[in-house]
């Protein structure tokens, strides 16, 4: 076939026109898209990094507050330390200094315990930590109370008064601590 004939045959394909129904279907599809999302304004893509940055900022803030408050003087740590000092002191009913030291340590521990917030403090200590500490405190005071009862019975009259004073102190603290412990929803 000659090149000229070939080109004229190809040119005859120009007379072929797209069918109207095909064009109508395409138009209808575009219109459907128009109704749904076709003509929707472009998504604000900057919102994605912006929200991410916002979340990051909140995370950094929370983390920094947490670490900043972690080292702040905490009532919980004070109470825990004071209580462990008191617990570590042995009761020696024959020595006046021992009774006096124990009384002071108890006084210190009690004032630290009284200052604790029963519901805990954000970033410092939780409610359950506080409850557990109070439970330990009450158990310790009950034990000490019993020891003092025994010591008073066998103590000479000159020491009895000192020991009874200490017992009264322990008894007051015990009563107050039990009341506070009962404020928790489940006291076992």
């Amino acid at each position: 076939m000659k090149e000229r004939n070939l080109i004229s045959q190809l040119a005859s394909l120009r007379t072929l026109q797209p069918r109207a129904d095909s064009l109508a279907r395409i138009k209808s599809r575009l219109d459907t898209e128009h109704e749904s999302s076709f003509y929707r304004p472009p998504a604000k893509k900057w919102l994605i990094p912006a929200s991410f940055t916002g979340l990051l900022a909140v995370f950094v803030l929370i983390t920094s507050v947490y670490f900043a408050t972690y080292r702040l003087p905490s009532r919980y740590l004070d109470a825990e330390n004071s209580l462990s000092i008191a617990v570590s002191l042995p009761l020696a009913p024959t020595r006046d200094t021992s009774i006096q030291d124990l009384s002071q340590a108890l006084n210190q521990a009690n004032s630290a315990m009284v200052h604790l917030h029963l519901k805990g403090e954000m970033f410092l200590y939780s409610m359950s930590q506080c409850q557990n500490l109070y439970r330990d405190y009450v158990v310790y005071l009950r034990g000490l109370h019993g020891q003092l009862d025994e010591a008073i019975m066998s103590a000479p009259p000159e020491r009895k008064q000192r020991l009874e004073t200490l017992r009264n102190q322990v008894s007051d603290y015990e009563e107050a601590a039990e009341k506070r412990l009962q404020m928790y929803p489940k006291h076992k």
Binding site: L6, I7, S12, L13, L16, Q17
Partner: protein, 167 residues
Amino acid sequence: MTYLETYFDEIYTRYAALILHYVALRVADRDIAEDIVATTFLRFWKKLQQDIIIEHEKTYLFLIAKGLIVDYYRSKKTNQWSLDSVHELLEDPHINIEKQVVQKIAYEEILSHLQQLPAQYQDIIVFYYVQSLSIEEIAIILEKKQGAVRVLIHRALAALKKTYERT
């Protein structure tokens, strides 16, 4: 209707038939061809929404359609198509029914030879000899230099001629 929508409608009215004509000659499957044309205009619209200035709308639309056709054949992994489907998409509105049969045979002959060529040759023959696009426009669509396009046109025509000689 916004300015962008009016502009898009104008472009669609002007070029939809032209793009469908090209796609129909390359993808002889009615649903696929319509899908490709619709997707072409959807992509064009998305570009408009992104405030991208498109200088040559016609060549840009052809460029998108050509890419979609390549994707279609790549996923299909075959280059075969049926002639019957071409007639579902294209028709000659100016001839009577008697002549239609004769004309149909002529179209089928040329299209059956055309489909034996590599995809790039098919594109270039349709663009240059059927759709009468300029060398400059074809160079933009095929992303080639104008000199290379001239060479390709010559080679494609020679290849088509060879298919006739073989039969």
